[in-house]
């Protein structure tokens, strides 16, 4: 733990990761509606966490630790979008209202809450 370059990289990664997570946290407070807040948390948050984990790998510079760090990042990358997807989808369908500044909503009209079928809008062209 005496290599200054290594320290520099570690510190940079840490600060980057911490900064991203802080931004995610600010975002979740500041942004206007759920979906926009999710843009901040599930991305910035996870990326930030991944960066700090990477800092750990650099810091220890040890095969076992690196392996574990890689695993953590892999797991984050695999699970974070799933969480974002299920929450986003669920809350959208559960009628969590969108921010009034939302410019466009192509999904609502394609969704049939009775049958839970989500149409693509391309079905009619097929029939022609």
């Amino acid at each position: 733990m005496t290599d200054p370059l290594q320290e520099l990289i570690t510190a940079t990664l840490l600060l980057l990761g911490g900064g991203l997570m802080l931004i995610a946290a600010i975002g979740i407070v500041r942004l206007p509606d759920l979906l926009t807040r999710m843009h901040a948390t599930t991305k910035a948050g996870t990326l930030g966490a991944a960066l700090t984990i990477a800092a750990v790998a650099v810091h220890f510079a040890d095969a076992a630790v690196t392996a574990r760090a890689v695993a953590i990042i892999l797991f984050i990358v695999l699970t974070a979008p799933v969480a974002a997807h299920v929450i986003g989808r669920a809350s959208y369908f559960a009628c969590v209202s969108l921010w009034q500044g939302t410019v466009k909503d192509e999904l609502r009209e394609h969704y049939d809450p009775e049958s839970h079928v989500l149409y693509s809008g391309l079905e009619e062209r097929d029939e022609e």
Partner: protein
């Protein structure tokens, strides 16, 4: 083919996790992975070829990281500056991708990128509905997504 590939991946993960690269350990990891897959194999459809995809894969990763950095910077800027210049909306993007795996990978990559979030896939799997933060120009946004999709499919298809 895919089960086998995934199996190898699992064995590798095992070796990595245990940080113990011996024949015995690799074999053990393979067996464990095999057992785990055997449990779910009835649910997994096949997928073909993956041999020449490594270089494309590396290229893709670099592209993706760059995209991610850009998006993160933009969100960060918007979040920390007092004015919040966002134009969110839900957009349906028609898909080229057709297999479950392709759609999922694409959707997850979209979700992982700040500024876009995959909400759902239409029941006939032809349209991906995306919530996006910045839809100033819808055509440009479509193009961005299509570009990502092309690169993904290039990696994933033989």
């Amino acid at each position: 083919m895919i089960p086998f590939a995934w199996n190898i991946v699992l064995a590798t993960v095992w070796v990595v996790l245990t940080a113990n690269l011996t024949l015995l350990n690799a074999l053990f990891g393979f067996l464990l992975g095999y057992a785990a897959l055997a449990l779910v194999q009835s649910q997994l459809p096949g997928l073909h070829g993956y041999a020449q995809r490594v270089p494309r894969f590396i290229g893709f990763v670099l592209f993706y990281i760059w995209e991610m950095a850009k998006a993160n910077a933009r969100i960060a800027y918007d979040v920390v500056t007092p004015r919040c210049d966002i134009h969110p909306g839900v957009v349906g993007v028609p898909l080229e991708a057709c297999s479950d795996g392709e759609i999922t990978v694409l959707a997850n990559l979209i979700s992982l990128t700040p500024g876009t979030l995959s909400l759902d896939v239409s029941s006939d799997r032809r349209v991906l509905y995306i919530h996006a933060m910045y839809i100033e120009d819808e055509a440009a946004f479509h193009e961005e997504i299509k570009e990502l999709e092309r690169r993904v499919l290039k990696v994933m298809r033989p």
